[in-house]
Symmetry: C2
Subunit: 175 residues, 2 copies
Amino acid sequence: MNSKTDAAHRSGCPINLTVEVVGDKWSLIIVRDMMFGNRRHFRDLLTHSQEKIASNILADRLRRLVTEGIISKTDDPSHKQKAIYSLTEKGIELVPVFAMIGAWGSKWLPVSEELSIRARLLEEGGPPLWEEFMDDLRVAHLGKRPRPGAAGPGVRERLQAAYEEVLARNGPAAC
Amino acid sequence: MNSKTDAAHRSGCPINLTVEVVGDKWSLIIVRDMMFGNRRHFRDLLTHSQEKIASNILADRLRRLVTEGIISKTDDPSHKQKAIYSLTEKGIELVPVFAMIGAWGSKWLPVSEELSIRARLLEEGGPPLWEEFMDDLRVAHLGKRPRPGAAGPGVRERLQAAYEEVLARNGPAAC
DNA sequence: AAAAACCAGTTGCAACATGCCATCGGAATC
DNA sequence: GATTCCGATGGCATGTTGCAACTGGTTTTT
């Protein structure tokens, strides 16, 4: 029927389609940095990531993620050259996927303690914490107004604080 | 410190390590077919998949998944040439990841109804259903004995039945 | 005002991965 | 004894990734 759109896909299976969209070595890393690291600019993503992505790959993936509707790109009013990348609702709703991937990775792969603390907290917090985190992201990325009950540091800040605490405990040289 | 093992990894982040292991276009598809489609042999995986994987890629990915400890390979006693591939506990515990990926894909991507019914049921069932499914898989793949309370069709059979029901409703020609 | 640093990418090129098709030697089946 | 089935493997074209250098333009520093 809709052969024109279908032709691009191997199958209509949800797993397969998801893999087609984010099943490469970099897309999820970029979304992770935007989500948990609050990186919103090209340079931010390029230089402040643990994994040292190349600039052409980053440019290509950002373009693709925009095309897929997982992130959006707008001009930075304070700086004519800067572009701001934001998560869309579609991107924000990847939080539970990240939570599960992080939990599995922490359990089965040789993760470093500093970097797994976030995954552990996110797993322990469960769906309520994910919802709170997604609400925070909607405020930061979609311009939604904060929920009335929201006060104090957001989920991202709390995860970040926990990370830095582990770092400080294990010796400052680790960073 | 452990530079020899670290050298192979871009970082110790759980998300990154997971992406390094299953972040390609085929690995999760193969695990999905073993998990939800009960495919245990090379030919089974090669010919009965929607996505038409090439035999050399399948051979390569099976080898890698065995190396990663996500599946295991044993001889088929009934057929000297056949190999049986089984999920390990590490592989079985990807169920929640699949559930979340399936849920996200069903919500945001152009899935076909037949193929998304499984994802929907798995999402609606929540963690209790995932646990039941993982127990079924432990019986089928690890040789564990069934739980005392387990009777009737397993989770996979129920998902499969739901899939076939949708197929029958939408016209048999769809397959 | 000139120089330096910063911005989001782009280009060229080599290496690697993927995909398709044909084929293999051994084993089971007819 | 021929055919089919088995888990792969090899050749080859194409696509993707990774690195380093570079671009045109903007902002900051001197």
